[in-house]
């Protein structure tokens, strides 16, 4: 039995081409709504903190906090915690952590803005392929940023001044989890913006899912 909805030319295509045909399908109103949600989430990611690193030691029970935003690096306690972290790090010869080292914060808000536009575009024009593009690009961005983040932490922990007063084994601060560095316990976890970034792909997949059987655009 032939599917009356499928054209005869479609049946002549190789299977993998047939599988990709769904990319041309239109987004239904629910999926378009989800794309609007995605646009909002991309915008919110810019506003909320992405990551939080906390250092706790006996004499720093209240913790020294470092909060990473898409556009800025903020030390806790009115910025003082970053000064303090750098002050302590000079003993082990670590380079001062400075906002200017984090080049991505100059372009990340811009990139996220592009994602907002792309999401709005998909919501209006309404094609599954556009959603897939966003999903792929965003996954790439996420992995690239994490890699960059890891590299930066690795460099901070390994590029130690050999003349520093205290010699410690080179180390890499953890990205997610808990780690002990000398007298400090380091906690590093995604913050609101980070969790939103994880939520976005879910929303994108759902947008595709709900329109997987829709009409062709």
């Amino acid at each position: 039995m032939k599917n009356p909805l499928k054209s005869s030319s479609e049946t002549n295509l190789p299977w993998w081409r047939r599988e990709l045909r769904f990319l041309d399908r239109a987004l239904n109103p629910l999926s378009r709504g989800l794309m609007l949600v995605a646009a909002v989430l991309f915008a919110l990611v810019v506003l909320f903190p992405l990551w939080r690193i906390t250092l706790v030691a006996p004499q720093y029970q209240e913790g020294l906090r470092l909060t990473i935003y898409a556009y800025q690096l903020v030390g806790g306690n009115g910025g003082q915690d970053l000064v303090e972290i750098n002050n302590l790090n000079h003993y082990i010869g670590m380079k001062p952590i400075e906002e200017s080292d984090f080049v991505e914060i100059t372009w990340l808000p811009f990139v996220l803005g592009i994602f907002v536009i792309l999401s709005l575009r998909a919501a209006v024009l309404g094609r599954i392929s556009q959603v897939i593009d966003i999903l792929v690009l965003f996954t790439y961005l996420g992995l690239f940023s994490l890699g960059l983040f890891y590299h930066r932490l690795y460099t901070y922990g390994h590029d130690l001044d050999p003349k520093a007063p205290m010699t410690i084994e080179p180390f890499t601060p953890v990205i997610i989890g808990k780690n002990k560095i000398a007298n400090f316990v380091q906690w590093s976890y995604p913050s609101v913006g980070g969790w939103l970034m994880l939520l976005i792909p879910v929303v994108l997949v759902l947008a595709v899912w709900f329109s997987r059987k829709g009409r062709r655009a």
Partner: protein, 629 residues
């Protein structure tokens, strides 16, 4: 009403107390259930006390801060004496504040008030010795101003009494001298040529800056403790006096002759107005009122023999004064005082000052016990009077009293607690406000003999914590305090939020430097200047070069902004040690008199490499500078 005691009873009682060697203080009676009492004052490691106890350090010149209920000493606030521990008295600013004196005699701390409640802004203390008042800012627990010696005022004992909205700090003279100060008159002319004085020290509401407001000339009585009014007694202040005999020698005997001395009831608002109306005469730069010429400013009130304290109750209606050589304390009804003034019900005048009719204004005499000094209130209608001779605290009920109670005044005294020994002041938190905290009473005792591990002849004082929350007082804890707590103030810990670092943005010192590369030294003629950064764990620069005969001016900035990251700067063999709190800049000026290489180092342990935090002051001999340069 007449005094219901005879001098023989008093004498007998005093002898009993003296000969008995303070037998009232049987240690066994003080503590019946150790465990539950220990729990009451126990503040576990890491936990915080509920109240601050600011107690005066007497002739140590300092104010000490302890916690209640733990009674642990937390910090010392240096005021009138140098204190190397915080570098006080070594830098230019605090040295200028201390002036020519290296000690003071702190007696009565007074917390600033707004609407008769503690507002947590300032703590004022007096210097009995050199006639000064100081202001401690509770934002950083630092002495900010020392005013004095106050002109025309000698022996600033009767202060620091704060008016309802901290308009004034009221001050009275303990000693009388010929005025203005600097004049000499024969001792025999004491009654005519010597004078006492009551002063209003004006407080700027924004800055706390104190200045001289006005003074009221008095006969040469010895003014003692005072207090300020509120409610019906709003705008008034009260002081007791001894030596209305106006004796000038062997006061012990000669000032103890009259059965009554006088308290002064002063309408300070009238005094302020009279000065504004131009009724004052300028003496030594201060407007001084003659109360006999300005009616309504000062009245005398008869009090029991040789009184010490006078204390206004939280309502402002009951004024309680005790003569230390009589076993009762008198409660005056201020509403009756106002009525007596209105009706001109005077029993006498003394040098033109009306003496109010005692019988018309006294509500009653409470038989509290031997040697009553000071009275505090819990806000629940109870009063607590310290009994110096008896070494005890008496708890009694404030008026109104029933007819039955009046018939048996003994019944008004509801409890008595022995203290160890010879109590002077006592303090209940907020007793001088509209709303006392109650809960705790601290007895400040003059003798501690036999109560502690033997430390030789120089013995500490003792301060005892008494729980007053129940029907009966309960002795909870005992601490040994440095010489010498006279009076104290109690403040709820959560009533203030002191800073822990000086914010960089607030540092306006012209020579503050904030990074190691900014630190520098330079020469201007015979003066060598240095701007130095102190940061974990180095000074920058760490070498200062000068020559003998130079003046050296060092501005050292602690650039840390972290709580408790305090650095010091001690210079070997130059008698210099400053301590710089985070964000603070201090300036030191010294004359270089000897050649050599003198180490300087961080005196306040700051970090793992604190010991390495050091530098050198190189002082070339005077003649050789040309060669070396």
């Amino acid at each position: 009403m007449k005094y219901k005691f005879s001098s023989s009873i008093i004498l007998g009682s005093i002898l009993a107390a003296l000969l008995g060697g303070c037998s009232a203080g049987d240690p066994e009676t003080a503590n019946t259930s150790g465990d539950s009492l220990a729990e009451k004052s126990f503040v576990a490691p890491g936990e915080k006390d509920e109240f601050y106890l600011f107690y005066s350090g007497g002739h140590s010149g300092q104010v000490f801060v302890a916690g209640i209920p733990s009674m642990r000493h937390i910090v010392t606030i240096p005021v009138f004496s140098p204190y190397p521990g915080t570098g006080y008295g070594f830098d230019d600013e605090s040295r200028a504040m201390l002036g020519e004196y290296t000690w003071g005699d702190v007696h009565h701390p007074g917390l600033s008030q707004t609407d008769s409640l503690y507002d947590g802004r300032w703590l004022f203390v007096n210097d009995n010795a050199n006639n000064r008042v100081a202001r401690i800012d509770l934002r950083d627990f630092k002495t900010k101003q020392i005013l004095g010696p106050i002109p025309n005022s000698s022996g600033n004992h009767g202060s620091s009494f704060v008016t309802e909205n901290t308009e004034y700090i009221l001050v009275a003279t303990r000693f009388s001298v010929p005025l203005p100060k600097g004049r000499v008159a024969p001792m025999e002319s004491y009654a005519d040529e010597f004078n006492g004085m009551v002063s209003g020290i004006k407080v700027d509401q924004e800055t706390g800056e104190m200045s001289l407001g006005w003074q009221i000339l008095t006969p040469p009585f010895n003014w003692d403790l005072g207090s300020t009014g509120k409610g019906p007694s709003s705008g008034w202040a009260f002081w007791t006096s001894y030596n209305t005999e106006m004796a000038h020698e062997t006061l012990e005997v000669n000032a103890s002759q009259r059965d009554r001395d006088y308290a002064a009831f002063v309408n300070w608002k009238s005094a302020e107005q009279a000065v504004a109306d131009g009724k004052a005469e300028m003496i030594d730069g201060v407007p001084v009122l003659d109360p006999s010429a300005v009616p309504g400013v000062m009245y005398f009130v008869p009090v029991g023999k040789s009184p010490h304290g006078v204390d206004t109750d939280p309502s402002g209606r009951w004024i309680v004064a005790s003569g230390k050589l009589q076993p009762t304390t008198t409660v005056y009804d201020f509403e009756k005082v106002l009525a007596a003034i209105e009706a001109e019900d005077f029993q006498d005048t003394f040098r033109g000052i009306p003496v109010l009719n005692y019988d018309a204004i006294a509500e009653g005499e409470v038989p509290v016990g031997l040697g009553p000094l000071h009275t505090q209130y819990d806000g629940e209608g109870n009063a607590y009077t310290s009994l110096y001779i008896e070494s005890a605290v008496a708890k009694w009920k404030l008026p109104p009293w029933t007819e039955e109670q009046r018939a048996d005044m003994e019944s008004i005294v509801t409890d008595k607690m022995p203290v160890h020994f010879n109590i002077g002041h006592l303090v209940v938190g907020g007793s001088d406000t509209r709303e006392p905290y109650g809960k705790w009473l601290v007895a400040m005792n003059k003798l501690s003999k036999g109560r502690h591990a033997n430390v030789g002849p120089s013995q500490p004082e003792s301060s005892q914590l008494i729980d007053i929350s129940g029907e009966k007082m309960e002795m909870v804890f005992e601490a040994y305090t440095e010489p010498e707590p006279h009076f104290a103030q109690i403040l709820k810990v959560d009533a203030i939020e002191p800073i822990e670092v000086y914010p960089k943005a607030e540092n306006h010192h012209p020579h503050a430097v904030w990074s190691l590369d900014e630190g520098t030294t330079w020469r201007e003629g015979d003066t060598v200047h240095a701007k130095i950064v102190a940061v974990r764990s180095r000074f920058g620069p760490e070498k200062i070069e000068a020559k003998v005969g130079d003046k050296l001016v060092i501005h050292v900035t602690n650039i840390e902004q972290t709580s408790d990251m305090i650095h010091g700067l001690g210079i070997s063999e130059h008698n210099i040690n400053v301590v710089i709190d985070p964000g603070e800049t201090k300036t030191i000026t010294l004359d270089l008199k000897k050649p050599g290489v003198f180490p300087f180092y961080c005196t306040n342990f700051c970090s793992a490499l604190h010991q390495e935090m050091q530098g050198y002051l190189v002082v070339e001999p005077a003649g050789e500078t040309a060669m070396s340069q």
